[in-house]
Amino acid sequence: MIQIMNWLSMAIGLIPLNRQQFHSNFLVDYVMMVLVPCLYLAAYFGINLLQRFGLAFLDACNSVCRLSNNLFMHLGAFLYVTIFILSLYRRKQFFVDFETHLAEIDVVIQKCRQVAELDKSRVKAVKHSVAYHFTWLFVFGIFIFALYYDASALYGTFGEYAIIPFMVSSFPYLAGSIIQGEFIYHVSVISNRFEQINTLFEKINQETRRRHAPLTVFDIESEGKKQERKSAMMATKSAFGIEQKLADEMKRQKPPQLDDEDELNTSDEEDEDIFDYNDINTENTESTSETNLPDLFKLHDKILSLSVLTNGEFGPQCVPYMAACFVVSIFGIFLETKVNFIVGGKSRVLDYMTYLYVIWSFTTMVVAYIVLRLCCNANNHSKQSAMIVHEIMQKKPAFMLSNDLFYNKMKSFTLQFLHWEGYFQFNGIGLFALDYTFIFSTVSAATSYLIVLLQFDMTSILRSEGLMT
């Protein structure tokens, strides 16, 4: 499926050919990226300057139709030009970078999987779910329908010149959607890697759970020894005796405010002796997947960097697409309710325009929804890793207690994730976050605009066009 999309986007000149090879013929790579926009611009300026072949210049086209057609055309031009410039700016450097980073990540993941002995269960990861295929089919279906509708309607009107109006009506939206498709693909790859990391983290978590059972038994036994040990510790810390006391006092005074982190911090040293038993107990059965942790942390960091890269490339392209989607949807609803319900079937061209709006608003909305959904998923997956690590930390596994290094490492990871949270989220150049809150904000904005728009009194205009009596 993705292959088809890639071919398509190469064919209409949105991504360079041979995008994964660094050294290839420059001319061949970019030939499509020059030809198609030239074709588009020729069609656009041809229609606007020569005043021919455009829908707006037909006799059957009334003022409402002309306005909506012009809006559709110029909006499409805005969308296509911005997207194309950004794609040209991206060139294939990004794809090469992305693939190399991905390859690095995959190598490390593979290594980690071997350590974690997850190799056997690898088979099922390749198989996609039914929903995945269904989504692809659905998206392809609506795109083919939209294109077919537009093409057939235009062919009926213009005959063999239909390609010219087609280039300015449907093509920009198609191109924009395909770029969003690329974005979807990249985000889904990232999301997938996050998921893999999460399974690895989960594996460690499972192991600690398994090994946690004997720990509690020894916990009770070692109570006495712990006291001893504690007093010894106090003795060694005689230099800082005052501080210790004060710290204890402090603990007493703000028990409700202490959060988990704190608790861990303090109980950490108290439990220090437990691992002696534990270590002896489980040394043989212990599988060593926690050695993955540093690698996994690095991986997480790398994948996040990769998402920053991807977002930096595709985020700006999201903005015009979302804007176009918003405008087309609002006008689609407006035309449908205020024009088509009243005078539907009177004028063929007007109907065509209305349906075009409706079809493309639906299509772009579906694509935008998928983008938002995947970005949200990727965000959630990355958040989940931090959650799992926290869970591991709370279970106080043996490897953590035995070695301060692991504790500090995990703490460092969670802290770093806090920084990441403040720093990065999938967004359109900071204007809006790409998650479900965006849907809410656009819907609320759309409602208020619609209320204003629906108050427009169309009857007199329609009457003057002779559509209504």
């Binding site: 270590d279 060593t288 926690e290 050695t291 540093p294 690698d295 942390f297 690095k298 960091d301 490897f399 035995s402 070695n403 301060d404 290094l405 500090n408 490492k409 703490k411 460092s412 990871f413 802290l415 770093q416 806090l418 920084h419 990441w420 403040g422 720093y423 967004n427 150049i429 900071g430 204007l431 809006f432 904005a445 208020s448 605009y449 204003v452 728009l453 108050q455 427009f456 009194d457 007199s460």
Partner: protein, 535 residues
């Protein structure tokens, strides 16, 4: 490295042209001679008087302009609804208000501005001591580009409007030049802010780059180490010796430090020359730069030469961690200091920014609305005559929104860069994989989480891209409302004609009971019918 000459060039050195220009126009009151010879901004009584004089001249001229061009608005007042007229009056003065805010704020802050740049200089010195070099020369370039852009925009708007839309047979029409003054003064003031903000962003990025460089160095070093003797740095080794807390990682970072120091000793900027060429043209003495640039290639061999030294000298373990700690501590403190400078800067410019944002919002909306009015061949306020021509409108819009958006974008980027530091710091910890270093990093990371630079306009709203999103929504909805009312008025005018020709009272009463829109058009119709005798 401690020479009697100052370690770093002050940032203000790059501001020469901008300062002279803004001094001349009356944006800044500070002392000219002191700036020329010592590159410091100092209070000056004469400058203050000059500035006040300039400000009053501007105010007088602007009022004269409004008065002389207001002749055409007399009829407009009668024909328009009161709301539109009041808004128009407010819009004519917002530019003046903005300019006055800028100049008065500059007057009040004249002492603190100098302190701000002094603090930046101190930060630069500290950064230099941490071998974190940054390039101020591009700031001068930036200033030049921005000045040129300003001139192009201002002059193109002024000339195009003057030629196309002003009646230049009268000599009073020369007053039209004054209409460009407020925006020009404002832009100069904002260039100061933008460039200083950019400088802060660069400093943040320099800190990040230093941290990332540490990571890179260490990674390279590790790669070399594993190539050399694979036994030391393998992963499996670590769990085996859990009793001794962790000798191998300490060993690693120890070596890293030593290597770093060795790299740092012989040439200050040698380390940077390999990876990042653009990063090393420094605010330091120029001999250093040329030296660094001439020998980019010996970098690798030298690293190989240091290896025996490293192997010999790895007994100073504690010393190593302490050194790294000091360095990270210092970077963290510098980060905090830059954050504080950012806050202080935001405080100094908070009122000008607020007025700029208000101006941007109003002018953007007004210009688009008047453009619409002009396309419907309605009369518009004389000061907004540039809206009669769509191309001039586009230039005006790009200029106004460019100013606002650039500031917002820059503050957003700056606060992102400051947040990035924490991530880079953690990378250091992860790559070294040393217990002691982890503790340091965790501690500092908590500190960094509490450093914040948020740029806001007087605390009313933060300057980030989300605000821009909200503002663009606001502009659109206001435009729609305005245009809708305009349309209603337009329909009313059409209705008058039909009303006059048919004079059918029955239809009149019937229409009055229709929906709101109709009655509002009716209202407009009635008012306009009553107004028609007046003109």
């Amino acid at each position: 490295m401690s020479q009697p000459t100052p370690l770093v060039q002050p940032l203000l050195l790059q501001f020469q042209q901008l300062f002279f220009l803004s001094k001349m126009v009356g944006v800044l009151p500070q002392n000219l001679d002191k700036f020329r010879y010592k590159n410091v901004l100092e209070k000056s009584r004469n400058g203050m008087l000059y500035m006040l004089g300039v400000l009053s001249i501007y105010v007088v001229l602007y009022n004269l302009l409004i008065y002389s061009f207001g002749e055409e608005d007399r009829t407009l007042k009668a024909s328009q609804s009161t709301l539109t007229f009041v808004i128009g009056l407010f819009l004519t003065y917002i530019g003046l208000i903005m300019m006055a805010t800028d100049q008065l704020t500059a007057l009040f802050n004249q002492g603190q501005l100098g302190e701000l740049y002094e603090r930046i200089r101190v930060v630069d010195e500290r950064l230099y001591r941490e071998e974190c070099l940054l390039d101020n020369s591009c700031i001068a370039k930036r200033i030049r580009i921005m000045l040129i852009m300003t001139f192009i925009f201002e002059i193109s708007i002024l000339v195009a409007t003057y030629i196309n839309l002003v009646d230049y047979t009268q000599w009073l029409s020369l007053l039209w030049i004054v209409s460009a003054v407020p925006t020009f003064v404002n832009t100069l003031d904002k260039i100061w802010f933008a460039v200083s903000l950019y400088a802060l962003k660069e400093r943040f990025e320099a800190i990040n780059a230093t941290l990332e460089d540490l990571v890179m160095e260490h990674e390279k070093y590790k790669a070399w180490l594993t190539g050399d003797d694979a036994t030391t740095a393998t992963v499996g080794n670590r769990t085996a010796d859990s009793q001794q807390s962790s000798p191998p990682p300490q060993y690693d970072s120890n070596l890293e430090y030593l290597y770093k120091e060795l790299g740092g000793i012989d040439t200050g900027s040698l380390r940077n020359s390999g990876g990042k060429n653009h990063n090393k043209v420094a605010p330091i003495a120029h001999s250093m730069n040329s030296f660094g640039e001439t020998i980019p290639t010996p970098h690798k061999p030298q690293r190989m030469n240091t290896n025996p030294l490293i192997n010999m000298a790895h007994e100073s373990e504690l010393n190593d961690a302490a050194k790294v700690e000091i360095k990270l501590n210092n970077l963290c403190q510098v980060h905090d200091e830059i954050c504080e400078i950012g806050k202080a800067m935001n405080g100094l410019w908070s009122y000008p920014i607020l007025s700029l944002m208000a101006y941007g919002f109003l002018i953007f909306t007004a210009q688009l609305y008047f453009l619409y009015c002009a396309t419907q061949s309605q009369s518009i306020p004389s000061l907004f005559r540039s809206a009669k021509n769509p191309f001039i409108t586009v230039i005006v819009l790009v200029y106004t929104s460019g100013k606002c958006i650039y500031l917002i974008y820059l503050s957003w980027k700056t606060s992102l860069a400051s947040k990035r530091t924490g991530i880079s710091l953690h990378k250091c910890g992860v790559v070294a994989d040393d217990n002691l270093l982890y503790e340091i990093v965790n501690h500092l990371s908590l500190k960094l989480l509490n450093h914040s630079v948020d740029f806001s306009a007087c605390g009313f709203f933060t300057l980030d891209m989300e605000t821009l999103y909200g503002v663009s929504g606001g502009i659109t909805s206001y435009l729609i409302i305005l245009i809708q009312f305009n349309l209603a008025a337009q329909q009313a005018k059409d209705a008058i004609q039909s009303f006059n020709s048919f004079n059918d009272t029955a239809g009149f009463v019937g229409a009055a009971t229709e929906m709101d829109n109709n009655s509002s058009t009716l209202y407009d119709m009635i008012t306009t019918t009553m107004m028609t005798p007046t003109y």
